[in-house]
């Protein structure tokens, strides 16, 4: 694992992060020359305070589009980064037993707070080579069918399920369509709705449409502070509704896809704080926050019987939607 400092300098920097990163570089340089000089030490401390302030200023006022960029940040922790920090003895299991093994979804059993759970999630790659293997976290039908196989197994053996959502979307390709991408996603929605064990879903990065939801029919849905969840990418929405790709920032704002928006719309149950400046600035701190949140929800869910879980999950999704219904005349006409 790269050290914290190394990560800051190696990861790509977003435009609005630049002032912070540049100041940090300056501090690093000063440190090298500072030696025992009191003045220099004082200067460094004051710059450090300035960095914290600057970061707070920038992040207090992020636009939805900036949040989209953060949710896709190449330096962000991915599913396996969380699993390795939040659980012990993770044993990855492979394959859908039908066609193949899709590296864009990972899954396996692990110990969470000492008891076995199934972890399953979308997996992006960090390098170009990894991303070719992981297909940028865009699953094909065999990925969803692997997830389904593992979730059904977890249910059979009474193990809770933790889903990590982080995908631009299900893979749009000829082979994926041939093998029934739509059917694979649909089946997961149906089966997850009826599983008799607790299901937790953590949206850790990009929640891209149906491809995200296929791991998202859960009893509790928590979202990291700078994660997003949307019905279509802002780029796709802009192209269709604005007929202009450059309107992606407008589309991002219009779709209400940030964690705080979705909390307000009562789609997610909790927003989990990230490390200051975003999850990519401190994997460990963000993973600790997520652990605390999931532990809390899982403890509550463990008190429910399978029947209660199924009923509450059904009602949770049953209530999602916004419409009015007037009853001033009889229904038939």
């Amino acid at each position: 694992m790269a050290s914290k400092e190394a990560r800051v300098t190696e990861t790509p920097v977003l435009e609005f992060e630049r002032p912070v990163v540049e100041l940090e570089r300056k501090i690093q340089e000063l440190r090298e020359f500072a030696g025992d000089s009191r003045d220099m030490q004082r200067e460094i401390r004051s710059l450090e305070t300035r960095v914290a302030e600057l970061q707070q200023e920038i992040f207090a006022d992020l636009t939805p589009w900036q949040t989209v960029l953060l949710s896709r940040h190449a330096g962000r922790p991915f599913t396996l980064d969380y699993i390795s920090r939040m659980t012990a003895e993770f044993t990855e299991l492979h394959g859908d037993r039908r066609f193949g093994d899709d590296p864009a979804i990972v899954g396996g059993f692990a110990l969470f707070d000492g008891s076995p759970v199934l972890c399953v999630g979308h997996q992006k790659g960090r390098t170009t080579k990894e991303n070719v293997t992981r297909n940028f976290g865009m699953p094909k039908p065999e990925g969803y069918r692997k997830a389904l196989r593992l979730m059904e197994m977890a249910a059979r053996f009474g193990k809770p399920i933790i889903c990590f959502v982080d995908t631009p979307g299900a893979y749009p390709g000829v082979d994926a369509e041939e093998r029934g991408q739509a059917e694979a996603i649909a089946k997961n929605l149906e089966v997850m709705a009826g599983l008799p064990v607790p299901i937790l879903c953590a949206v850790i990065g990009e929640g891209g449409s149906g491809g995200a939801l296929a791991l998202g029919v859960a009893d509790r849905i928590v979202m990291l502070e700078y994660a997003t969840y949307s019905v279509i990418t802002p780029e796709g929405c802009a192209a269709i509704l604005w007929r202009d790709d450059d309107k992606k920032a407008d589309a991002a704002a219009a779709m209400k896809l940030t964690a705080s928006d979705l909390l307000r719309l009562r789609i997610v149950d909790e927003v989990v704080s990230e490390a200051p400046g975003g999850a990519h600035r401190d994997f460990d701190a963000t993973a600790r926050n997520l652990t605390v949140s999931l532990r809390h929800h899982l403890t509550e869910l463990r008190r429910l019987s399978p029947g209660e879980l199924q009923e509450q999950r059904y009602q949770k999704f049953r209530e999602m939607g916004a419409f009015v219904e007037s009853t001033e005349r009889p229904e038939s006409r």
Binding site: P172, V174, G210, S230, E328
Partner: protein
């Protein structure tokens, strides 16, 4: 003079223009023949020369499938809200109002109960003419109620799909309708209440990736476009041309994702036969 009239530009969602025939003459995109629109109407909007299936108005579809006088429409008073305060070039509520005026229905689904070949059913019919049949909260709620009523009455549910997918203007709330409707199917499945989904042109996106693909039996109209991702998106991803017949009903039949392709004129008879066979039988011996 409007001899040929286009009815809606939402058609291009599907990547191919297909429209409900109006005007005196209609040119068939299948065989390029010029047809009398009256002849087409008499033939369920199917070309008498080449069997090209035109889009069919939703009310006409209800009349074609349901036994005469049996259909009772319900949930007619559910109307959409604007939960996101959404605005692109138009405000979402204005778009809905315009679509309502044009399509004559307050949202993209007509639902109710009745009989098909004397079999009692709960049925939902997508109105593609309403914002491309897109699914927002109203459609999701109405589809869910179709399934819940079927479950309660223990009668088969029929869902006629024609949709570009989830409705962007309601954001993630639209996405969640996929989960809501699929959860209702999970209960039907447990209780052995049959669901037949009928895939019309086009059935794509979030509708394809939920109840459309969850029918116990999945029937498609000839050459209907069916798939998850749009052709343009796929083309931009793979940067090569798509195989001929890609995402057509025949392509899905070949790959094992629909049970059968049924001509529109035979649809009612086929569904009747199917449902008579699907209604659950108690297989335990009745004499003890």
């Amino acid at each position: 003079m409007a001899w040929y009239k286009r009815t809606q530009d939402d058609d291009e969602v599907a990547g191919e223009k297909r429209s409900v025939p109006v005007g005196v003459f209609t040119k068939c995109p299948g065989c390029r023949e010029t047809l009398l629109t009256a002849d087409l109407k008499a033939n369920a909007d199917v070309c008498p020369k080449c069997d090209h299936h035109f889009l069919m108005g939703t009310r006409a579809r209800v009349a074609l499938i349901m036994d005469e006088g049996s259909f009772v429409e319900v949930d007619t008073r559910i109307e959409s809200l604007d939960p996101l305060g959404f605005r692109d070039s138009k405000r979402y509520p204005d778009r809905v109002r315009a679509a309502w005026r044009q399509a004559g229905t307050p949202d993209a689904l007509i639902s109710g109960w009745g009989t098909v070949g004397a079999v009692p059913v709960e049925a939902g019919f997508f109105a593609f003419e309403f914002m491309g049949g897109s699914m927002g909260s109203v459609v999701g709620e109405k589809v869910t109620r179709v399934f819940e009523r079927a479950l309660e009455r223990r009668v088969p549910a029929l869902i006629f799909c024609a949709s570009g997918g989830a409705r962007m203007q309601e954001g993630v709330l639209s996405l969640m309708q996929m989960a809501k409707t699929s959860a209702a199917i999970s209960r039907m499945r447990q209780a052995a209440v049959p669901l037949v989904s009928i895939l019309l042109h086009p059935t794509t996106g979030g509708v394809a990736a939920s109840f459309a693909m969850l029918g116990d039996v999945i029937v498609a109209e000839p050459k209907a476009l069916i798939g998850f991702a749009g052709a343009r998106v796929i083309q931009n991803t793979i940067r090569q041309s798509l195989p001929p017949g890609f995402q057509r009903a025949e392509f899905l039949l070949k790959h094992g994702f629909v049970d059968c392709i049924v001509h529109r004129r035979e649809m009612k008879d086929s569904l009747t036969r199917l449902m008579r066979m699907l209604i659950p039988t108690d297989t335990r011996a009745t004499a003890s």
